[in-house]
C-alpha cells in the first residue's frame, strides 16, 4: 500500500467524521484503520495529524484541560507509517520494562504501559491504541476497521508487509 493510497483512505475517513469540524481535519495523512465514529461508548471527537513523524490520530471522547495541565483523552488510535514506527524498535536495548508480545486480530502486537497501549503491525502501518485499561484497549483493537470498508471490525487484519516489522520498508 503506498502512502498516496493511504492518503485517499484518510479522505474517506474524514467523510465519516460528521462531528469533527472539517476546518480542523488534516488534508492528508496515512489512516488506513480507525475504530469507527463511536467506540466503546465514546464518540470520535478529533482527527489529528502528527507533525514530524507523519501519523494520523483519531481521538475518542473528551477530557478537561486547564492552565498548565493537559489531559489525556479516554481513547486514541494513532496510525503510523511502518517505516517510522515498528515493533522492532522495542528490541533495541533501552531502559524499560520488557515488552509483552502477542497476537491481536491475527497480527503481531505489543502490549506496553500495563496494557494501556497496544501496538499492532498490519500491512505497511503500525496502529497504536491508547486507552485507560488493557480491557478497553483490546475492545478498541477489536473495533478497528479499514476506512475504505475493506476490513470490517473483528476479522483478521492484513499481515505485516515486507520489512514492516523491522522498519526496513520504504516510506
Amino acid at each position: 500500500m503506498t502512502w498516496s493510497f493511504v492518503g485517499t483512505c484518510a479522505s474517506a475517513a474524514l467523510l465519516l467524521v460528521g462531528g469533527v469540524s472539517a476546518g480542523r481535519v488534516p488534508a492528508q495523512g496515512p489512516p488506513a484503520l480507525f475504530a469507527g465514529d463511536n467506540v466503546d461508548g465514546l464518540p470520535l471527537t478529533a482527527v489529528l495529524r502528527g507533525g514530524g513523524p507523519g501519523y494520523v490520530s483519531f481521538v475518542y471522547g473528551d477530557c478537561e484541560a486547564s492552565d498548565d495541565v493537559g489531559c489525556a483523552p479516554p481513547v486514541e488510535v494513532q496510525v503510523w507509517p511502518a517505516c517510522r514506527r515498528y515493533l522492532g524498535l522495542y528490541e533495541r536495548r533501552s531502559p524499560g520494562p520488557p515488552v509483552e508480545h502477542g497476537v491481536v486480530r491475527g497480527v503481531p502486537a505489543a502490549f506496553l504501559d500495563d496494557g494501556t497501549r497496544i501496538e499492532l503491525q498490519t500491512a505497511m502501518t503500525t496502529v497504536v491504541v491508547f486507552a485507560g485499561s488493557r480491557s478497553r484497549a483490546l475492545r478498541v483493537a477489536a473495533a478497528l476497521r479499514a476506512v475504505d470498508g475493506s476490513t470490517p471490525p473483528g476479522v483478521a487484519l492484513p499481515a505485516p508487509g515486507q520489512g514492516a516489522l523491522a522498519g526496513s520498508a520504504p516510506c
Binding site: 502528527g50 507533525g51 501519523y55 495541565v69 489525556a72 522495542y90 531502559p95 497501549r117 491508547f130
Partner: protein, 203 residues
C-alpha cells in the same frame, strides 16, 4: 529474644536487602507525568522525554539547566512522577520565563548500575494563551517542527550538547496526545533524550 524471632528477623532482613538490590535501578515504566496521585491513564499530563544520567541528580540537573539553557524561573504547577510504583510530586521545575516559554519538571530517581544517578524530566514549550479566551499555558500543538514537547526536549539537547555534554536518544513510544486548555492537542514523537551530567555544578 527467642531463636525463632532472630531467624524471622534475619529472613526479613535478607528479603528487604534483596528487594532493595532488585529495585535499585532506573524505573523507565513511568513514561508520563500525572496531575495527581494515585495515578492511572486518565491522570496522565505530559510525556517524560528527558533523562539526566551519570551525575544526574535532580539538583545537578536543575543547576545545569539554569547554566546551559538559562531557564531560571521556578514558576509552574506541580505534577507527579511514578518510580517503582510510587507516585511522588516533582522535585523541581525550571522555565525560561513567565509568558510563552520553555518549561521542564524534574524528579530524581534511583541510582542505576548503567545510568548512574538519574532524574526523569518532562520538557516542553508552551504558549501563554490569552485570546480568544484566556486559559493560561498550553503546550504547542503538533506542527512541522514537532510539538511543544519535542521543542522543549530539542532545546535542552541543543543547550547541553553545545556545552559539551553527551546526549543520545532511545525509543519510548510515549506518543499519546494531550488536550491543552486552548483546545489543541500536543503529542511527543516518542524519542526520549539522555543527557549526561558531570559532578560539579556551575557557579
Amino acid at each position: 529474644m527467642g531463636r525463632f524471632a532472630v531467624v524471622t528477623l534475619l529472613v526479613a532482613g535478607c528479603g528487604l536487602a534483596t528487594a532493595a538490590a532488585t529495585s535499585a535501578h532506573f524505573d523507565a515504566s513511568g513514561r508520563y507525568t500525572h496531575r495527581a496521585c494515585p495515578v492511572g491513564a486518565s491522570t496522565r499530563t505530559d510525556p517524560v522525554n528527558v533523562v539526566f544520567q551519570s551525575w544526574g541528580t535532580w539538583g545537578r540537573a536543575a543547576s545545569q539547566i539554569e547554566s546551559h539553557a538559562a531557564w531560571t524561573s521556578t514558576s509552574g504547577s506541580d505534577q507527579h512522577f511514578v518510580d517503582h510504583g510510587a507516585c511522588s510530586v516533582q522535585h523541581a521545575q525550571r522555565a525560561s520565563g513567565e509568558g510563552s516559554r520553555f518549561h521542564v519538571r524534574l524528579r530524581g530517581q534511583h541510582w542505576d548500575p548503567a545510568l548512574g544517578w538519574a532524574a526523569a524530566a518532562a520538557a516542553h514549550h508552551e504558549d501563554l494563551v490569552l485570546f480568544p479566551l484566556p486559559c493560561g499555558h498550553a503546550v504547542d500543538a503538533n506542527g512541522p517542527g514537532g510539538s511543544g514537547f519535542d521543542q522543549g526536549r530539542d532545546a535542552l539537547e541543543a543547550a547541553f550538547a553545545a556545552a559539551g555534554h553527551a546526549t543520545s536518544r532511545a525509543w519510548w513510544g510515549n506518543t499519546q496526545s494531550f488536550k491543552q486548555c486552548d483546545g489543541d492537542y500536543a503529542a511527543a514523537d516518542g524519542w526520549m533524550l539522555f543527557i549526561g551530567l558531570h559532578q560539579v555544578n556551575h557557579a
